[in-house]
């Protein structure tokens, strides 16, 4: 028995060491630093709640919060609608199904950096592909990432392009689990296809949609890479319209050396993610239907 316990501990030890040394301790250290003034070069100085108070009065912080909320609120539903829509189109067997699925899934494995680079080029106001396509329809060229009103939408286009396939696969797996008898019974009762979708499909895949909402919200709250790559020379441009939370946090830590301030921002983000996730789970319990048993 004792031997078995030692064995268990041995098996857990790499994870346990990593969890304590590279996760829990850094987490507590970051919490401590969030109450200090720390510029890397001198020892951290305790300042109490000063960082948190400064954050509340920082207009750029609130701008980054607004930008982040904007892409979260628009990006999450857009991704789910695109993923569910393509899944519904590809649910029933159709010739070339494998090709269509692969085509939509392909962008999800393209590295985010490469996604950002190719879209930066597609969205180029002077020589870009998108403005050329718009030109065919006699629409005048747009500024896309250079236009403060379109920059966030431009970023969302590339992110949704890169995410739809992954959501589609999860939706397809969910759709496969909906019992066929339900549809058959509804058809006999003469339910329209819209009603079948609303009354059967949607409730039955509720848990899958819920999962994608949680994953999507957590992703957008930490959104960084694409926004960094497209504005690498001028983070957050134009006029801070793409300065997202994680970007501003990075700037504070590694451009301005305000480690304490950045640590406080990181903790606020952490707490927000925990609260939002708990809230989503709470809504989930009240709204989403989970089939009996497994």
């Amino acid at each position: 028995m004792r031997k078995a316990r030692g064995f268990t501990l041995l098996f857990l030890s790499p994870w346990l060491i990593g969890f304590l040394g590279l996760m829990l301790v850094p987490l507590l250290v970051a919490l401590y630093w969030s109450f200090t003034n720390y510029d890397v070069f001198q020892a951290p100085q305790w300042v109490g709640l000063q960082n948190y108070i400064a954050i509340i009065h920082d207009p750029i912080f609130w701008q980054s919060v607004g930008n982040t909320l904007y892409i979260t609120v628009i990006g999450v539903p857009t991704g789910i609608i695109a993923g569910l829509g393509t899944a519904l189109l590809l649910e029933k067997p159709i010739r070339g199904m494998g090709f269509y699925r692969a085509a939509i899934f392909l962008p999800t494995i393209v590295p985010p950096v490469a996604v950002a680079i190719v879209w930066l080029w597609i969205l180029n106001p002077d020589y870009g592909l998108l403005n050329a396509i718009l030109g065919v329809f006699h629409i005048r060229p747009l500024g896309w990432l250079n236009d403060p009103h379109l920059a966030k939408v431009s970023l969302l286009m590339m992110v949704v392009w890169g995410m739809t396939g992954q959501i589609m696969i999860v939706m397809l797996a969910g759709l496969k689990d909906v019992p066929v008898e339900l549809y058959e019974a509804a058809m006999i009762d003469g339910a329209s296809s819209w009603n079948r979708f609303r009354k059967i499909t949607l409730p039955m895949i509720g848990p899958v949609i819920f999962y994608e909402v949680v994953v999507g919200v957590i992703f957008y709250l930490q959104f960084f890479t694409q926004a960094f790559v497209v504005t690498a020379n001028n983070l957050g441009e134009p006029v801070n319209s793409t300065l997202f939370y994680a970007l501003y946090l990075y700037q504070n830590a590694f451009d301005f050396q305000k480690m304490g301030y950045a640590a406080a921002m990181a903790f606020i983000l952490f707490i927000v993610i925990v609260i939002v996730t708990m809230l989503l789970f709470w809504i989930n319990r009240r709204v989403v239907f989970y089939g009996g048993g497994e």
Binding site: T8, I94, V113, I169, M259
Partner: protein, 284 residues
């Protein structure tokens, strides 16, 4: 009736072809741009099929930046991540599924909770720790943590790897392990001889995700690698862009070469991708 059905099938095909084209176009555009001449890249309206493909762009791209150095760095980091993740997460997943011990389920909640911790929170302390260890001038900040089930990427985490592997182990018939134990097999033997060979698909899936996320990760190398010769490709590609000029055709060539390993992996292992994503999404 039959005519209506055929018309509907046709519309579905047309819609699907348009959608597939939209999803494929950016990658086609990357390849097309990578083959254009310096003048051809700045022609408007642009051409999808350049009349004279410039394959030489690819040889220019690899000297424009130290491409092969970055390629090697990316390969080292990815190899370490795949091996490290499997070595550290597989036994943990085994302990969380097959082995029975007190506090197992509580501790597993901790594993799940770690998935939620944003990288931004531990990023600053880890940076300082590695700085104090003198690791910032090396690849160690990226290659060592995976061996301790710590994964510096927001797309795939060690917590998720343990969760996925645990799902695979749980599908194995329990009787098999109990029979082995009654026969007096040591725990190590059941793990090595029974669990591992039976969950090869799970190991491949997790290894693949580990490769994919380490090959493409951006934030950690951006912060942790402070020397120009140490960059990985995902960070190194930035050097094509400057304030005033971007060599788009070379950049597209380099970006395509950077994406190629992932594309090949996808073509040869599509099954595991789909399985892994569906599993992580549904069996929660």
């Amino acid at each position: 009736m039959a005519g209506g059905l055929r018309a509907r099938l046709l519309t579905r095909h047309v819609v699907l072809i348009i959608i597939a084209f939209i999803f494929l176009l950016p990658m086609l555009w990357m390849v097309s741009s990578s083959l254009k001449s310096n003048a051809g890249i700045f022609t408007f309206p642009p051409q999808l099929f350049p009349p004279h493909p410039h394959l030489s762009n690819y040889s220019h791209a690899v000297t424009y930046i130290p491409f092969f150095t970055y390629l090697r760095n990316s390969a080292v980091v990815s190899a370490a991540t795949v091996v490290g993740t499997l070595i550290s997460c597989t036994p943990a997943a085994y302990a969380f599924s097959i082995l029975r011990w007190k506090g197992r389920d509580v501790l597993f909640y901790v594993v799940l909770a770690t998935i939620m911790i944003p990288f931004q929170v531990v990023m600053i302390p880890l940076y300082i720790i590695f700085r104090n260890l003198g690791w910032l001038g090396t690849l160690l900040p990226l290659t060592v943590p995976p061996f301790f089930a710590m994964f510096i990427s927001s797309y795939f985490s060690a917590g998720l790897a343990i969760f996925l592997l645990r799902q695979f182990f749980r599908t194995l018939p329990r009787d098999l392990f109990e029979a082995a134990m009654i026969d007096g097999a040591a725990p190590w033997t059941t793990f090595w001889r029974l669990a591992l060979p039976l969950s090869r698909a799970g190991l491949i899936t997790v290894g693949m995700f580990a490769f994919l996320s380490s090959w493409t990760m951006f934030v950690a190398p951006l912060i942790m690698l402070n020397s120009n010769t140490l960059l990985t490709l995902s960070v190194g590609l930035q050097q094509f862009q400057s304030q005033h000029f971007t060599a788009w055709n070379y950049l597209m060539a380099a970006s395509f070469m950077f994406t190629l390993p992932v594309l090949l992996l996808f073509i040869f292992a599509q099954r595991y991708f789909v399985q892994g994503i569906a599993l992580s999404g549904l069996k929660g």
